[in-house]
């Protein structure tokens, strides 16, 4: 029976065309992701090289430690996970590199990379998109008439008479379609793993499982609907309406809701406060500024109060006061981002498309969480760098006394991203619900006819 079902299935031009189109778009998306990854790595190489060249030029040009450190930049890099090629997420908007001087951090850490807004608006064509948007469409195209077509062409009666179980026959048909769709899905994932050289780790397994569950959700939905014995036209319109709601309307509405629910004026106030916090110190009493600075870092108090009109110790104390002035607003900004994330995740638990997208980004470490993690790490990194150099600035240590070669970019370690239960449960729950509905309908199919 299966051989015949397969033959019947692939004889259709639409079937072959859809599978082919999906495969080609999948390949294109993998290449695009691979290019993205290569660009990210190129950026890291550029930053590393620039940090070296920039440092060498400035070390040669300046003999004052304080002045030299005005110019020197120190990079903290969050290296892209290989999986980010499959789910670019927020990584195109929020750079994975913080390249900062030891001056006020709040004025530097939100600096964006160059972006083409038209490109961002159109969205990335990564494999995540292909699976999220296009696989459901193909599943819909393959399954909307799985039952209704036989009714419409009048062949159902013949099948009902000949097949031992009507539902089992339909399941076999569904199975054939699933075979092709999952075959394609796995082929694309394996191709991606080969082209992008993704390691076979737990995160990749998470990506595969998530993709399988997500597509299973669509199969379950389509099969459940098929058993209502409506016309093909009704089925395709209903499924497409669900697709439009799940991939376009609901996510877009939730996005707008999150944006208007949690606006971030703190971003703008942080910007102002860090500037005023530093710049206005030029007009204030040096003693007060330094006293505040020493209260923060008592280990530096031994350097005392300089008598000169200008000293580098005082200069960096002023800069540090910029961060201090913006601290509360910066934390409020962080809290807003966290709340946005929380709200989105709460909605995602019941909306399969959102859930899958957010977890793809989590697995690929391209989510807002990862950006916030980089910002937090940048704060720690900045302070460590400052605290290392402060004594040398106060003592005006000779520039040559420092081994500058060792100041290469620092790297953020990857985070543990796979949490199986929250990853799988929402989708499994919805699938079970649909299967339950299918089971109930299938009983009616026996007795109701």
């Amino acid at each position: 029976m299966y051989t015949l079902l397969i033959k019947q299935f692939i004889r259709s031009r639409i079937t072959v065309g859809a599978l082919l189109l999906l495969f080609v778009l999948g390949l294109v998306s993998i290449l695009i992701g691979n290019q993205f990854l290569a660009q990210q790595e190129q950026r890291i190489a550029q930053v590393t090289e620039h940090q070296r060249a920039h440092r060498e030029r400035n070390v040669a040009a300046h003999d004052e430690m304080g002045l030299l450190l005005y110019y020197l930049k120190f990079a903290l890099i969050s290296p892209p996970d290989r999986l980010s090629a499959l789910s670019i997420g927020q990584r195109d908007v929020n750079p994975g590199i913080q390249s900062v001087t030891i001056r006020t951090l709040e004025g530097q850490k939100y600096d964006t990379d160059l972006t083409n807004p038209v490109q961002l608006h159109a969205g990335n064509l990564d494999l995540g998109f292909v699976i999220l948007y296009l696989f459901p469409l193909v599943i819909i195209a393959f399954t909307f008439n799985i039952f209704s077509e036989d009714h419409e062409t009048g062949t159902w009666k013949a099948i009902a008479v000949q097949a031992r179980s009507a539902v089992r026959f339909l399941l076999a048909r569904l199975f054939v379609r699933a075979l092709f769709v999952y075959g394609l899905l796995l082929a694309l994932l394996l191709t991606a793993a080969a082209i992008v050289s993704i390691p076979w780790n737990e995160a990749f397994l998470g990506f595969v499982v998530l993709s399988i569950l997500y597509t299973a959700f669509w199969f379950a939905l389509a099969f459940w609907l098929a058993l209502f014995k409506k016309s093909s036209g009704f089925n395709v319109l209903t499924l497409l309406a669900v697709w439009v709601v799940l991939t376009i309307l609901l996510p877009a509405s939730v996005n707008n809701l999150v944006a208007t629910l949690h606006p971030v004026p703190e971003a703008l106030s942080t910007l102002l406060k860090q500037r005023d916090g530093y710049h206005k110190k030029w007009d204030e009493d040096k003693q007060v500024t330094l006293a505040r600075f020493y209260a923060q870092y008592p280990q530096l108090e031994k350097y005392g109060m300089p008598e000169e009109t200008f000293s580098w110790g005082w200069y960096y104390a002023m800069q540090q006061q910029g961060d201090e002035a913006a601290r509360a607003d910066s934390q409020a900004l962080r809290e807003k981002m966290r709340r946005r994330d929380e709200t989105s995740r709460a909605f995602a638990r019941v909306i399969p498309t959102l859930h899958t997208q957010l977890y793809y980004n989590d697995l690929a470490q391209t989510s807002l969480t990862d950006y916030m993690r980089l910002l937090d790490s940048a704060t720690v990194f900045h302070e460590q760098t400052r605290l290392y150099f402060y004594p040398r600035i106060f003592e005006n240590a000779p520039v040559k006394s420092e081994d500058w070669q060792r100041w290469t970019p620092a790297y953020l370690s990857p985070r543990q991203t796979v949490h199986w239960a929250p990853l799988a449960l929402p989708l499994v729950a919805i699938i079970l619900l649909l299967l339950g509905g299918t089971w109930i309908r299938s009983r009616k199919l026996y007795f109701g006819e």
Binding site: R43, T112, Y133, V254, N255, A259, S344
Partner: protein, 481 residues
């Protein structure tokens, strides 16, 4: 063509639609979603603008309350430019969420425009945003397809078509009447969409200028043309299909391909073939070019050495301390001019590169009316790349003028003799700060907006002509069976 018959058929198409229960639920859902879209567009507009205007004022107040100080300190104190949303963003949010909103303007340095909505997004933004324009561009065509796919194909299936044709209705009348009826149904969504837009503009207190009126009128016009195209294509495909199911499949494929798949694919390919530089490479290239011209911080730099020698010669003095103006202010003026020029050259190259990335999508407007309407709509709403460019240019022009004003003040009012390490720093009176005009962004002019979208306008007109031509041609060849 017999007008009475056309109107009769249009009315019949309208009435038929209301015979199904589905249309009521579709309209209710669509109107509810539109209500939400309008609310959220209005909320974002008022919320963001009041926020940004507030901090623009706060930045100004902070600037003005500075005490007497050295003008170069003020050049570094700098100020901010906050981008103000166009009132029509309540209708079409365009690129607004992906463009930066705030930039720090200081001497020597062109800072990045930060804090785009996208940078705070959780990743959901990639699914798109809901706005009235998006609903009219994406969802309404789908509804038109739904209402119209069977309009002629079903008549053919149940034999009504034969009766129509034998009773004196020609193919031309049928095609025109059905298109008109379908278009009238579309107006049920379009009219409330624009009515609510106008109401929200009034509620938000947007000044009703000729520019805004022109934008609104042009927006209505392009949507009317676009939706007419969608209606005609729907009717033509329905007429050309043997069954209504076939017509539905073709139309859904058409919609999916053009509304969802093509725009993203063409843009992704455009960016794939023209990769853009990262900021680190961009900044490094500018730094290199500036250093090639001369390093104003290096006392032995040939460019600045030559400059100093020629200035000394002209004024007939032997040392910069005897010049009638502050020499370091003069050097910074020269440095600012050079670096700003170089920066502009690089920005132009980058803009050119982005244009190339976008060129593939723009070109597809010719085959894709969905792209044409999207570009036209956001240009008319002042939320496209052109409008963002205007803001970027304004901010940079202000930054440059501010830095040069401070350099001029330094040249004029600051002594050439450097104070000793324990002297009081040099300063000028604080009333100069108030005299510097505040940053004020002007909304993008309609003419500027239109300049970038002539191709899309042309493409939409061509689509309209082609759809009319298509209907005309098939009216000669169609069969009733």
């Amino acid at each position: 063509m017999n007008r009475t018959i056309v109107m009769l058929l249009a009315r019949q198409c309208w009435k038929n639609a209301f015979h199904t229960r589905a249309i009521y639920s579709i309209l209710v859902v669509m109107l509810l979603v539109m209500g939400y879209a309008a609310y959220s567009g209005w909320k974002a507009y008022t919320q963001q603008n009041s926020m940004r205007e507030h901090y623009q004022r706060a930045a100004r107040a902070s600037w003005e309350e500075n005490p007497d100080k050295h003008p170069h300190r003020m050049a570094h104190f700098g100020t901010f430019a906050f981008r103000i949303k166009h009132p029509l963003s309540v209708f079409d949010v365009g690129l607004e969420s992906f463009t930066g909103n705030a930039v720090f303007l200081e001497a020597h340095k062109q800072n990045t425009i930060n804090f785009s909505e996208a940078s705070f997004s959780t990743g959901l933004l990639r699914f798109g945003e809901i706005s009235l324009a998006m609903l009219l561009q994406i969802l309404l065509p789908l509804i038109i397809v739904f209402l119209g796919f069977s309009t002629i194909a079903a008549d053919r299936e149940n034999g009504t078509l034969k009766i129509l044709l034998t009773q004196g209705a020609g193919w031309r009348e049928i095609l025109a009447g059905k298109s008109l009826g379908l278009f009238a149904l579309a107006l049920l969504v379009v009219v409330p969409a624009f009515a609510v837009t106008i109401l929200l503009l009034a509620a938000a207190g947007a000044p009703f200028t000729a520019d805004l009126a022109g934008r609104l009128a042009a927006t209505v016009l392009v949507y009317v043309v676009f939706l007419a195209v969608v209606c005609m294509v729907t009717v033509a495909i329905s007429a050309g299909s043997a069954s209504s199911k076939g017509a539905l499949m073709k139309l859904l494929g058409w919609w999916l391909l053009l509304a969802v798949l093509l725009p993203r694919t063409s843009q992704a390919l455009g960016s794939y073939f023209y990769p853009a530089p990262a900021r680190v490479a961009f900044d490094a290239a500018i730094e290199e070019d500036v250093l090639r011209q001369g390093d104003s911080h290096n006392p032995d730099d040939p460019h600045y050495k030559h400059l100093r020698d020629s200035v000394l010669r002209v004024h007939g003095v032997d040392s910069v301390e005897h010049l009638p103006f502050n020499y370091s202010g003069f050097v910074m003026r020269e440095g600012e001019r050079i670096s700003a020029e170089i920066y502009q050259q690089h920005v132009q190259q980058l803009t050119h590169l982005y244009d190339k990335q976008n060129s593939l999508t723009t070109a597809t407007a010719l085959v894709n009316p969905f792209t044409a309407i999207r570009n036209l709509s956001m240009a008319l709403a002042g939320t496209d790349a052109e409008a963002y460019q205007v803001f970027q240019d304004e901010a940079e022009a202000y930054r440059y003028a501010l830095a040069q004003k401070m350099n001029a003040l330094q040249m004029e009012l600051i002594s050439n003799r450097k104070p000793g390490p324990k002297d009081v720093p040099l300063a000028i009176p604080h009333d100069h700060w108030k005299k510097v005009p505040d940053f004020k962004s002007q909304p993008v002019a309609l003419g500027t907006s239109l300049r970038g979208v002539w191709f899309s306008a042309l493409a939409l007109l061509l689509w309209c002509a082609a759809a009319c031509g298509w209907l005309g041609r098939i009216s000669q060849t169609l069969k009733a069976l």
